[in-house]
Amino acid sequence: MAENNILELNNVSFKYEKETVVKDVSMTIQEGQFFGLVGPNGSGKSTLIKLMLGLLKPTKGSIRLFGVPVRHFKHWEDIGFVSQKANSFNSGFPATVLEVVKTGLVSKTGLFRFYNKKDREKAMKALKTVEMEAYSDYNIGELSGGQQQRVFIARALVSEPEFLILDEPTVGVDAKHVADFYKLLRRLNREEGITLLMVSHDIGTITEHASHVVCMNKTIHFHGASHEYNAFSNDDLSQLYGHPVQQLTHNHGEAEYND
């Protein structure tokens, strides 16, 4: 097994009560890759993420993070997670942007220790990375959906993770900001060297930005480099989605699929 494997899944299956949600999934993510995880609604993408993070236990198979079985994994500060639910928090919560970002340091700070001035600087630096440092004293509920999303990315970045997992982060963010958002992700991947895994149901856009793609519906249908994915035909996609699908590619670089 290669040393620069960030994540390895080996024949992972998961059942919710009787229903199989994830079946025999094997995949590997290596350092520096930008992985897109795509599939239709209810295809088990979010469940797979929860399995990777140890929030759920697989019914079968093994999961390793940085070479360590997930149930023994301790260095959570190396992993940043931006949840799909991050945007549905209690928007009346009385916290400032800075207070929220600092919670990203909770695993690094240890029991009985308080956040200090250095932690504040780290939080400000993370806010700067996502271009939100001017909003540090704002109440989190006052910001727009796109701004909140950036704050949650800052929270994931503040512990300086090597691996960042994003679960449908562009849901509820308007189209104009989605492009900026991908620009930010590319910068994190190329300049900061952060390995990325992003869940999306927008196949076209993600394949354009990610270096690798995993396409799943309970089980994996495609796993490989994005450019190879382009050869993955419409017939395969239709099979994946269970109904006819056409992938449209436009000159301005945006791809869509429709019924």
Partner: protein, 285 residues
């Protein structure tokens, strides 16, 4: 007023216990409110009554425990109720709030049977329901002191864990925070504070001291720390003004404390309204 404060030990006990409760009840109240658990305080205060009733009955039947103070039994019931709520929340995963009415009505139902068996419908009971300035003994006051120190220390030491759990439980567990343990610790603290505060504010009104100052603070505060600071300030203000008027007018302190807290809340809501209108006008200019 000051003269009687210096003369009567019971007034000193009530004032000191009141000041400690005015600090610690809103402190926990902030976490209770932001986690939308306000009703848990009600459920736990009602089961405290069951404990008090059980103690009164035992006292009547067994003379040997005459020296017991019912507050301690109330405390034990409240803590047991807190643990039971946590268990029930796991049984009804999709209806977590069901645990609250189960414990609340169960507590009152059992309580009223025990009180009747003890022939306990008297003035004593009235002071448990609405609080009293004379009920706090020196040893009770010291118990409140120990609980206050303990709770303040735990909240300080686990501040960042409590905060992250309140804001985003999923993120907390991804960060390796032991949510279950901290939540259990938290709810046991709530149970202890409710049983302590009950002596001053009364069972029926104890949850108000945990929620009303926080409700007022939420209208004004920008940050979480400010919310905590303002909640404690409003809590202390309510308790101090409430205790003084209670003594002057000879009415139960529960009533005067809660009415003061309500007045503060109204002022906070008005302040917010007026200040937003001003800032809107400012922008228009």
């Amino acid at each position: 007023m000051i003269e009687s404060f210096l003369t009567y030990e019971f007034l000193q006990n009530a004032a000191l216990a009141g000041i400690m409760i005015g600090f610690v009840a809103p402190l926990l109240g902030v976490f209770i409110v932001v986690r939308r658990l306000s009703l848990i305080a009600d459920a736990l205060s009602h089961i405290t009554l069951t404990g008090i009733a059980a103690s009164l009955l035992l006292e009547k039947r067994i003379n040997a425990i005459n020296e017991w103070n019912p507050v301690y039994m109330g405390m034990a019931f409240s803590v047991a109720g807190a643990v039971l709520i946590e268990k029930l929340r796991k049984v009804y995963k999709h209806y977590e709030e069901l645990a609250i009415p189960i414990i609340l009505s169960g507590g009152i139902g059992l309580g009223v049977i025990l009180i009747s068996l003890a022939d306990g419908f008297n003035t004593d009971l009235f002071s448990y329901l609405f609080g009293s300035v004379t009920a706090v003994s020196r040893s009770n006051m010291l118990t409140v002191f120990i609980i206050t120190i303990l709770v303040a220390a735990i909240v300080l030491l686990f501040y960042k864990e409590l905060f992250v759990l309140s804001f985003d439980e999923e993120h907390a567990s991804v960060s390796g925070v032991n949510g279950k343990l901290i939540h259990l610790m938290f709810i046991v603290m709530v149970a202890l504070v409710i049983a302590s505060a009950m002596q001053i504010v009364g069972i029926l009104l104890v949850s108000a001291l945990m929620t009303l100052p926080v409700a007022a603070a939420l209208r004004i505060a920008k940050s979480f720390k400010q919310t905590i600071g303002l909640s404690i300030f409003f809590g202390e203000l309510s308790v101090i003004i409430g205790l003084i008027t209670s003594y002057q007018l000879s009415v139960p302190p529960g009533g005067t404390i809660v009415v003061t807290a309500i007045l503060i809340l109204i002022m906070a809501i008005t302040y917010r309204k007026v200040s937003t209108q001003f800032s809107l006008k400012g922008e228009a200019l």
